[in-house]
């Protein structure tokens, strides 16, 4: 059973897994470092950086801005992504595949293209870069996340259920509310959680669509480039990782085993 080849494969797989996880562990350790200098091995551990970061008003403001942007972008993208999934699933019309293609472009293309495209667009239309332009940009690339999740679920649902509901006298709205919606609610919720996570830590598109506003990722980028408050950067980076991991894990729980391979 345990051939040398299998043992070698297992060792290789574990090595790749270690490569994938080690940097995250390193970040956790550095966040608890007592020193202002980034040095390995860490001499002394403390919660000092956490306290400093908590007392930093800029960080708190950036965190709140990121939460607001992510929440608003998710609130816009969720109904739009849901409608898009329904329309593309149920109807065939000219431009059907073009619309499906357009919807996935914002994440299929490199982020820099979406970013600079929106940047020149806002420039042309005379809209000043602001909170609103960040939200518009984020909502645009979040739509596809909800769309993908809901569409994957719709494709697995038997049509007979909605037909049965109609046969039993429910109208279209009642059927949607009582039959279809409960069946796709978890997929929609999972999509919304992933959209929140994606928006919360997005940096490339945000760079091109934010004006004077500083989201948490923009704050991190700025602090790293200036080489200042790096012990607080360690903490903020850890906070960002945890804040995105929670919705991602939650969404996977919602989607269950079957949804695991669908992004």
């Amino acid at each position: 059973m345990a051939s040398p080849q299998r043992i070698a494969l297992t060792i290789a797989a574990m090595a790749v897994l270690a490569f994938l996880l080690a940097p995250v562990c390193i970040i956790i350790l550095y966040a608890f470092s007592d020193s202002n200098v980034q040095m390995w091995p860490i001499a002394k551990f403390s919660l000092r950086a956490f306290i400093d970061a908590w007392n930093n008003r800029e960080i708190r403001r950036a965190f709140l801005l990121s939460v607001e942007v992510a929440a608003l972008a998710t609130a816009i993208a969720t109904p739009i992504g849901l409608l898009l999934a329904f329309v593309l699933h149920r109807f065939k019309f000219p431009g059907h595949s073009a619309l499906a293609f357009l919807a996935v472009l914002p994440i299929a293309l490199p982020g820099i293209i979406t970013g600079i495209a929106l940047n020149s667009y806002f420039g042309f239309s005379g809209a000043r870069l602001s909170f609103a332009t960040i939200v518009i940009a984020h909502a645009t690339f979040c739509i596809v996340i909800v769309y993908n999740n809901v569409l994957a679920r719709l494709q697995r649902l038997p049509r007979t259920l909605t037909e049965a509901s109609m046969d039993l006298g429910a109208d279209g709205f009642a059927t949607f509310r009582r039959v279809t919606l409960p069946m796709i609610a978890s997929a929609m919720g999972a999509g919304a959680l992933l959209a929140f996570a994606l928006s919360f830590d997005e940096v490339i598109v945000t760079t091109f669509t934010a004006g004077v506003q500083t989201t948490l990722p923009l704050w991190i980028l700025g602090a790293i480039r200036l080489g200042q408050q790096l012990n607080q950067v360690n903490v903020v980076v850890l906070v960002v990782i945890v804040t995105t991991a929670i919705p991602v894990l939650w969404s996977q729980k919602l989607m269950g085993e079957a949804g695991r391979l669908h992004k």
Partner: protein, 301 residues
Amino acid sequence: MTSAAAPLASGVLRNVSAFFWRRPAALGWVMAAPPVLWLGIFYLGALAALFVSAFWQVDSLTGAIRHEWTLANFQQLADNPVYRKIALRTIAMALVVTLTDVILALPLAYFMVRLAGRRWRAILFMLVLVPLWSSLLARVYAWRLILAHDGVANWAIGLLGFPPGAIGYSYWALWIVFSYLWLPFVILPTAAALERVSPSLLEASADLGGNDWRTFLRVTLPLAAPGLIAGSISSFSLTLGDFVTPMLVGGAGSDFIGNVVYNSVGVANNTPFAAAFATVPLLVTALYLFAARRLSRAEAG
């Protein structure tokens, strides 16, 4: 009032519902309107703006954008050897990173699909998924700490008795970090592709005397190749469009396409030139997609 309004409202709803039931196309249009408008106004509009502004130019005196059609940006890209070098450097890095990721993804994906038990498999999927969704910036920063002069990498090298190296801020650093960043994006499609290879074929190969390694090379890999190629598109296009990684772990003078675009917008305020240069990754990604499709068709046939 409410008691009178409730049946009235439900009557209206019923009528509306009946209207759409008789005319499903009308319902389709009503439902399609919000996504079509949003994507049309913001995204299609933005892509059009990108395309148009690539053919405009910034007035060197006033700094304002002159709305006259010109190929000057593309001329500049073609004539200046610096930009050609940057474009080639970016594409070469994207290819090397993609190859590295495919090689790294295979053992873990194979382990997940064929060797791990149900429970382990679920845990492994989570461990791959969380980094996929977690912050690009956080993951680049972790490597900046690891590869720094006083970081973990040099410490480990020192333990082995070697003098500290200068991995940080070099092409080596970029290669490692890019490969790390996009690895989960390649593992998941690779696992999905391996999963679709029927176990009965593997058993047949084993029955005919092929050992594990031969079966993998002769049966599994060719059958999984289309999925592998599809998965490699992410790592390729993500490398082409990134500017954060070169900015944070790249050395001096290792500009990538993303950095030039970023600096053209942020520093030089020359959006038209940035737009023109941004068409390079767009075209290269399209070419890669085209080649990948041809290749996977050839493999499948």
